[in-house]
Amino acid sequence: MRTFHQLFARSPFEPLAKHGERVHEVVQLLKPVTDAFLAEDWNRVAELDEQISRAEHKADEVKEEIRDNLPKSLFLPVDRGDLLRFLHEQDGIADSVEDVAVLMNMRRTVLPGEVGQAMSKLVDKIVLTGEVWFDLSQSLPDLQEASFTGPEVTRVLEIAQRLNDLEFQADQLQAILGRLAVKHEEEIGPIGFFFLMRIANAIGKTANKAENTADLLRMMLAPS
């Protein structure tokens, strides 16, 4: 009887946490690239853009592997669609960091001090959001181990709530950055303004994606 062990498919929860690790490596490069960008150290920006692109590709590899191993015939403890959307949103975190780096490397945009400081503050908030999201992502195997019940769920729901709060704060910081950009629009110039807005959007998107993962996890934990 060879059927028995074929009954067991590879659990997607550890790979999802692993994908989270790879994405986290990308997020960790957001602060350095922003610092280099604001310091107008263009060689360093190019270097980090390249590094981020490579790290993002590594995360993609894990993403593809997870997708390949989640055929419709699998029976999972949570909705397959929720899992795939979680993966998509988690991957989106790395994608938006990559967008930031690409835009910073594309054009030597010079920002007035006040605007730079606002961007720096926004990025700090995003980095914090990223750390909280990382904690959430790493709790997936434990959640599965606890069979989606008990203190582990309470803990995860608390993290999710924190992520919602952080995203809200990031939104506010992004708005401040926007207002300051308008204030200095003459100095920045139209093309610089265009780039600045796109960079700010990409930075903000990182927090949105992190928040989305929290919302999806909440849906998975909702009593069926």
Binding site: A9, L74, F75, L76, Q144, F148, P151
Partner: protein, 421 residues
């Protein structure tokens, strides 16, 4: 006369079947324990060997009786029956051919990598011989229907029991604020339940050795006593890990459950030996009985002698020692997605179901019951991912095995009857 060629054929194929059960089927019973890390390969083999043999010898008689004389009525083959003086010899040839057919079908299926149940093969083979020898009306279709129904019911019951076992584990342990302390607290009770069940299966027979007719109450008390002793042992052995556990508490929960899973693994091995030894020994017991009566009678009154069951048990252990350990190692490597809490629930559900079927004399597939039990744990949100295509494979193996084994057995019977009579 006792060692007529037909006896040799039956003995050889019976032993081969037992070997095959030990070589291939035991792996499924032990695979989850090795895969979850609850047992090392060496310990799994020791536990499997001891409990498979114990189950076969102590409780193997019930199902053996069914295969020996439940599917086709041996009375027809008595000297006064339809076949006259040739009757006993015809039954012996038929049973030997059923064994041979089941063995050939299993070997062929293994070569082609098809999942085939030993139980289904032997039941199909006996039915095939019965239909050729006696015609369709000679087969006890009521009994066959009961057996086939048990093949549907046993995975379902295994699933239900495993589902609720896991739900209880989740409620008592996983959902608790301190899962490690909860595990330490509840472990002895779990061991008590498993120990009592194990003891219940052989307490009556065991007590009969020391007293003439043990009262059901005595049997119950003795079993509860056994369960109690096991629980006290568990209370002394199970301890919360030293130091302040950093990180996930579930690592410790699983470590403790790894110990508990040894108990359910033993129960599965016991249940498997008790139910599956009949696949090898049922027809052999019939042939040996007829040979013992000098091929002039079909003895039906006496129960299957213990030494015949011991032959089957020994065959299983030999299969385990010569080949089965390899299969256990391979399967253990593939089943890493099941942790001891889940393994405990699945094994408990499957073992109780198989033991229940054994008590009722119904030959069921231990593997299918285990599959059902694992799906039950999955339905309780216990398992990361299950491949449900396996269920289709199982359905297909059903549809293929029964007619194939029946046809092969009928063909062999016609051939051997022409040669030997």
């Amino acid at each position: 006369m006792i060692f007529a060629p037909i006896v040799w054929i039956a003995l050889a194929t019976g032993l081969y079947m037992a070997w095959n059960i030990g070589a291939n089927d035991v792996a499924n019973a032990m695979g989850t324990s090795v895969g979850s890390g609850a047992l090392t390969l060496r310990r799994a083999i020791i536990v499997a060997g001891v409990f498979e043999f114990g189950g076969a010898v102590l409780v193997g008689g019930n199902v053996t009786e069914t295969i020996r004389k439940g599917i086709i009525d041996p009375v027809t083959f008595m000297p006064g029956g339809a076949f006259g003086a040739d009757g006993p010899m015809i039954l012996a040839i038929g049973m030997a051919c059923a064994l041979l057919a089941a063995a050939i079908w299993l070997q062929a299926a293994t070569l082609f990598g098809l999942p085939v149940s030993t139980t289904h093969s032997i039941v199909g083979a006996v039915v095939g011989f019965g239909m050729i020898a006696l015609g369709a009306e000679g087969v006890a279709w009521g009994k066959v229907g009961e057996i086939v129904a048990s093949w549907v019911v046993s995975p379902l019951l295994g699933a239900v029991l495993a589902f609720f076992t896991f739900v209880i584990i989740r409620r008592l342990v996983l959902r608790q604020e301190d899962p490690v302390a909860a595990t330490v607290r509840w472990a002895p009770y779990m061991v008590a339940v498993v120990g009592t069940l194990l003891a219940l299966t052989f307490a009556y027979k065991g007590l009969k050795q020391v007293m003439p007719d043990p009262h059901p109450m005595t049997v119950m008390l003795a079993s509860l006593g056994f369960g109690g002793v096991a629980a006290i042992a568990a209370r002394m052995l199970v301890k919360a890990p030293e130091g302040n556990p950093s990180g996930s508490p579930y690592v410790y929960v699983e470590r403790i459950f790894g110990g508990l899973q040894i108990v359910t693994a033993a129960l599965v091995a016991f249940a498997h030996g008790a139910n599956d030894v009949a696949n090898a020994i049922g027809p052999l017991a019939a042939v040996l009985g007829i040979a013992g009566a000098g091929f002039t009678d079909v003895p039906t009154a006496n129960p299957v002698p213990t030494w015949v069951l011991a032959i089957g048990g020994a065959g299983i252990v030999i299969g385990l020692a010569t080949w089965g350990w390899r299969v256990i190692a391979t399967i253990g490597k593939h089943i890493t997605e099941i942790t001891p809490t889940r393994g405990f629930a699945a094994e408990f559900g499957a073992a109780v179901t198989v033991l229940l079927a054994t008590k009722m004399g119904l030959p069921v597939s231990t593997t299918h019951t285990l599959v059902g039990a694992v799906v039950g744990v999955g339905l309780a949100q216990g398992i990361g991912a299950l491949n449900l295509k396996t269920l289709r494979d199982i359905a297909m193996s059903w549809i293929a095995t029964i007619p194939a084994a029946a046809a092969l057995s009928a063909l062999l019977f016609v051939t051997f009857r022409a040669i030997l009579l």
